[in-house]
């Protein structure tokens, strides 16, 4: 029996029912035993040791805990870990490859889209979901897509610029057959 807080050997009398779930995290298949009440954010942070996903508000408002669930942004602080059984989760740690940053990460750095960095992973994942659906967003599109993510240091102007910067770069890198993207870039 495993506890998520594994260094502490659980008292045998405290054994609680757990469920075994299998999910794909950042492309890697993982099997874990979790208490049914465990929140996804805590599974990611404590169980999988992926501390780039932050918890801010506990009420689905701030978006610091945003991860992608089958490609869609969700607030992992109000989702149960067991709900991810058989699904795919992407966290900030899954954005960059070993050698290369994702254009969204580059954009946030280049446009000074972060200060304390606490809301940043969630912002970037919301942006990723947007750009996958809409590679050529307007400023308003970006503002709307990020409206579930709060920032207290930076304000939003540079964050929006960062996402537009990334969108332009991703269109640039898109295969030549993608004519829509080329037109977008030309305009």
């Amino acid at each position: 029996m495993t506890s998520l807080f594994a260094e502490v050997a659980p008292d045998p009398s405290s054994e609680v029912s757990v469920r075994r779930i299998t999910l794909k995290v950042n492309g890697e298949q993982r099997t874990v035993d979790v208490e049914p009440r465990l929140l996804l954010a805590h599974l990611i942070r404590q169980g999988l040791k992926l501390t780039g996903t932050h918890t801010g508000c506990d009420t689905t408002n701030c978006g610091a805990c945003t991860v992608l669930y089958d490609g869609l942004p969700v607030k992992s602080c109000t989702m149960l870990a067991v709900q991810t059984d058989g699904h795919e989760v992407t966290t900030v740690e899954g954005l960059a490859s070993a050698s290369e940053l994702h254009p969204i990460q580059e954009g946030f750095k280049d446009e000074h889209g972060l200060q304390c960095g606490f809301c940043t992973p969630g912002m970037m994942l919301s942006a990723k979901a947007l750009l996958e659906e809409n590679p050529d967003p307007t400023e308003d599109d970006v503002r709307w897509a990020l409206s579930g993510n709060l920032c207290r240091c930076t304000g939003y102007q540079n964050i929006v610029k960062a996402v537009l910067w990334a969108a332009a770069k991703m269109r640039d890198q898109a295969p030549a057959s993608d004519t829509e993207a080329e037109e977008g870039e030309a305009s």
């Binding site: 506890s3 405290s14 801010g56 408002n61 606490f118 207290r152 240091c153 304000g155 102007q157």
Partner: protein, 793 residues
């Protein structure tokens, strides 16, 4: 050949931030990211009532839960003389309540368990029997005759007054009013607001019995102050306490005070001899930790017909909650409220201030501002606009008539501050030009004919940033200097440590730029570390925009000490006397033969491999900097708005910011600070406040009730700059992190009030919620936002 300062990331380079490399990968290291072997988890049970006597606490239910390791009550703390702790303002605060609870959310019981879920279960199993007492939610109730004494724990405290304080020249001000052609007045409430960094507060206390050393990882903006406070509370010697402030997810003043959760986690770790982690939830953060503002301000301005201000009277009643836990300089009870009107040439002024205890969370912290300066500047600019209207004078012209002129510096303000530099008129002109002032006034008149309500608001101010000097500024008696320590390695690369603590300001980037400017060592060759009291030099931390004015100055000074030693080494290497060499960025050379020189890197190498006879080896030093004065940045913020008369909703049409913060170390970061500050200014003007109902229930205890603007609501900002170097700062820089939060709100509110001009409305308290604006507009009356609010409708 001299190095190119911008290329090496020196002064003026918009260098991309070093710290971003980890943040964009999710590889930051915040307190909650730290896991220690054998670590336990603590949760706090808080009071549901604002004011109540504790009749009994039954913790047996908690102890019965498997996995619960410790349950701590106030009684247990009292047995160890830890039930109360000193605040940073010479008051006391309950760690865990013993006699009664004094605000909703006060800490009552702590449960420590194997994991946080079990600890929460433990809190739910505790039964506390309360006897409710009448709650007090504003100063008016607090000062009323027969009001219950909230702090009956304190000897000699027979009322709810925290302090009664005054500053200025009463007689001179009375004379000014006697000479006035017109007296204008203003009365308003600056609402309670929470700094609300996205990361809440938390700590991991780790007491090691074998060494008797206590290590605490903690969300603190001021690790050394905390170490001093912990030494006091826990009765441990300083060298046995190590406070580590890792990456902070924002601070804004919220992470300056000492909180009960920190102290409780420390005691728990000492008792259990295991690391104990406490991470506050958002509600705990919003209802119990350092709020900002909550001040009732009223005042009068004595005016001459031609627009000259002759004198100002101000009075403030501030609501401090149940404990006076502000972190204010000890000499100034209402912070730097008396910096109000500093940009105007006013002959006489007088301020009286009273502070009150209420049944609300303690705080009154400097929320993204220098000690109460936000309230001061907001009141100033609301008063100025009202006075201009009363005189029938253009609001820009009224400011221009009264500004301290460029050639009047240094200027002693009526309250005794010494302002030293600025180009106020120039900043205003740039702002007016950018917003298209004259055109907008015409457009506004045209729109009015069609029933549209347009308004323009100006806010101009200079504010005192960067406490101390040590003559006047201290916290708990510790003078407000700051420090830097620089070690240059043999290769010419270096490590810099300071007594400040970044929480998003980008010190790892900008401090290296200052060293690059002073020594010509590329910024990328300099590592910056902060926040660990075992390694960082003693400093007072980061708040009140004091990093660049104080610690940043220390960075310059320590680099200059290094340069002075390197010069001796250069003379030795060049085999000339010290007087015969000159410095250009990154290199010493022989004056008579400029091709003959040595680089700073060569000097660094020689400091370890080839020093002159008799010279102490190595190339490292430290500097403690006590600034001669505060720095005085100036800002002009202008906003235009349109109100929808049917709903009271107002939209920002255009917002222009002109900031003069002296020399800019990293223009990109400076602009980032301004945009962030303007966003918070817009937040406070439009939606962000915490209020209370008549039972003392906090309305705004989570992000569903406490509204923060998102990317969708927040307007865009247009930034402009003026540079008037600070005459006493080593590189001419002034503080900037908070100017926009301080000066911004009045620009939005003045714009809305301008749109309502002529409707009989003089003031609407912030935030300017649509229903307030609508009520003011339709009923032609002022709207007060003071608590209690009705929550039953």
């Amino acid at each position: 050949m001299t190095v190119d300062e911008i290329k090496i990331g020196g002064l003026g380079a918009s260098r991309r931030r070093v710290e971003d490399n980890r943040f964009i990968r999710g590889a930051g290291n915040y307190v909650d990211d730290i896991t220690l072997p054998g670590m336990l988890h603590m949760e706090i049970l808080r009071s549901p009532l604002a004011h109540a006597r504790i009749k009994s606490i039954d913790v047996s239910g908690a102890w019965a839960i498997p996995g619960v390791r410790l349950v701590m009550t106030g009684e247990m703390m009292a047995a160890r003389n830890l039930a109360w702790m000193p605040t940073l303002s010479y008051d006391t605060q309950a760690v865990l309540a013993t006699d009664k609870v004094r605000f909703q959310g006060q800490e009552v019981v702590c449960v420590i368990a194997d994991d946080p879920y079990i600890a929460k279960d433990g809190c739910e199993a505790v039964i506390v029997d309360y006897e409710p007492l009448p709650p007090i939610v504003n100063p008016e109730q607090s000062m009323a005759e027969g009001a219950p004494v909230i702090r009956d724990d304190k000897e000699n405290q027979h009322d709810n007054v925290v302090f009664d304080w005054e500053v200025g020249d009463k007689d001179g001000t009375d004379r000014a009013f006697a000479d006035a052609d017109l007296v204008s007045d203003m009365e308003l409430h600056y609402p309670r607001s929470h700094p609300s960094p996205i990361e809440t507060c938390g700590s991991i206390a780790d007491f090691d019995r074998s060494t008797s050393k206590l290590t605490v990882y903690m969300t603190t903006q001021a690790p050394h102050i905390i170490r001093a406070a912990v030494a006091l509370v826990a009765e441990l010697p300083e060298h046995m306490i190590r406070i580590v402030s890792p990456d902070l997810g924002g601070g804004f003043g919220n992470k300056v005070p000492v909180y009960p959760g920190y102290v409780a986690s420390i005691l728990a770790s000492i008792l259990l001899e295991r690391p104990v982690k406490w991470i506050e939830d958002k509600t705990g953060n919003l209802i119990s930790t350092g709020f900002g503002r909550d001040v009732y301000l009223r005042g009068q301005m004595a005016l001459r017909k031609d627009g000259k201000i002759l004198g100002v009277r101000m009075h403030t009643d501030s609501d401090h909650g149940a404990f006076f836990s502000d972190a204010q300089p000890s000499k100034f009870k209402i912070g730097l409220m008396h910096s109000a009107f500093a940009c105007y040439d006013i002959p006489a002024a007088h301020l009286t201030s009273r502070g009150f205890y209420t049944n609300k969370a303690p705080g009154g912290v400097a929320y993204r501002c220098s000690f109460r300066v936000t309230e001061a500047m907001f009141f100033q600019e609301r008063m100025v606009q009202a006075a201009a209207d009363d005189l029938g004078m253009d609001q820009a012209e009224f400011r221009r008539v009264n500004f301290v002129r460029d050639d009047d510096f240094p200027h002693r303000t009526a309250f005794g501050f010494l302002t030293d530099s600025g180009q106020y008129g120039k900043c205003l002109d740039i702002g007016l030009e950018a917003i298209g002032y004259e055109n907008f006034l015409k457009e506004k008149e045209e729109a009015k004919k069609n029933g549209r309500l347009l308004g323009i608001g100006i806010s101009t101010m200079t504010e005192p940033l960067g406490a101390g000097n040590s003559r006047e500024y201290d916290i708990l008696g510790i003078k407000m200097f700051d420090s830097a320590e620089l070690r240059v390695h043999m290769s010419g690369k270096a490590i810099l440590r300071t007594g400040a603590k970044s929480q998003g300001q980008g010190h790892e980037t900008t401090w290296a730029q200052i060293v690059a400017h002073e020594l010509g060592i590329p910024a990328e060759d300099i590592v910056v570390e902060e926040g660990d009291t075992d390694t960082a030099p003693f400093g007072m931390g980061t708040y009140a925009s004091r990093s660049t004015p104080v610690a940043g100055a220390a960075v310059s000074m320590v680099a200059r000490k290094i340069r002075a030693k390197a010069r001796k080494i250069a003379a030795h290497l060049l085999e000339v006397s010290e007087e015969d060499i000159d410095w250009e960025l990154g290199r010493f050379f022989v004056r008579s033969s400029p091709d003959l020189g040595v680089t700073i890197q060569e000097c660094a190498n020689a400091a370890y491999t080839n020093m002159p006879d008799g010279m102490e080896p190595g190339l490292e030093n430290n500097a403690y900097y006590d600034p001669p004065n505060l720095t005085w940045p100036f800002a002009c913020y202008i906003s235009t708005v349109e109100i929808d008369p049917l709903t009271g909703v107002w939209d920002v049409l255009h917002m222009v910011a002109v900031d003069d913060c002296g020399v800019r170390i990293n223009p990109m970061i400076v602009e980032g600070q301004i945009m962030g500050g303007l966003t918070e200014a817009y937040a406070m003007a439009s939606m962000q406040f915490i209020t209370f109902d008549e039972e003392g229930n906090c309305v705004g205890s989570n992000y569903m009730d406490y509204l923060l603007p998102t990317a969708w609501e927040t307007p865009g900002f247009e930034l402009h700059e003026v540079v008037t170097p600070c005459p006493h700062h080593p590189i001419g820089a002034k503080g900037i992190g908070e100017c926009a939060t301080v000066g911004g709100p009045a620009a939005f509110v003045n714009a809305v009030m301008d749109a309502l001009k002529g409707s009989g409305v003089r003031n609407i308290d912030m935030p300017l919620l649509p229903d307030r604006v609508h009520a003011a507009l339709t009923e032609g009356r002022d709207i007060s936002g003071a608590p209690p609010v009705r929550t039953d409708s």
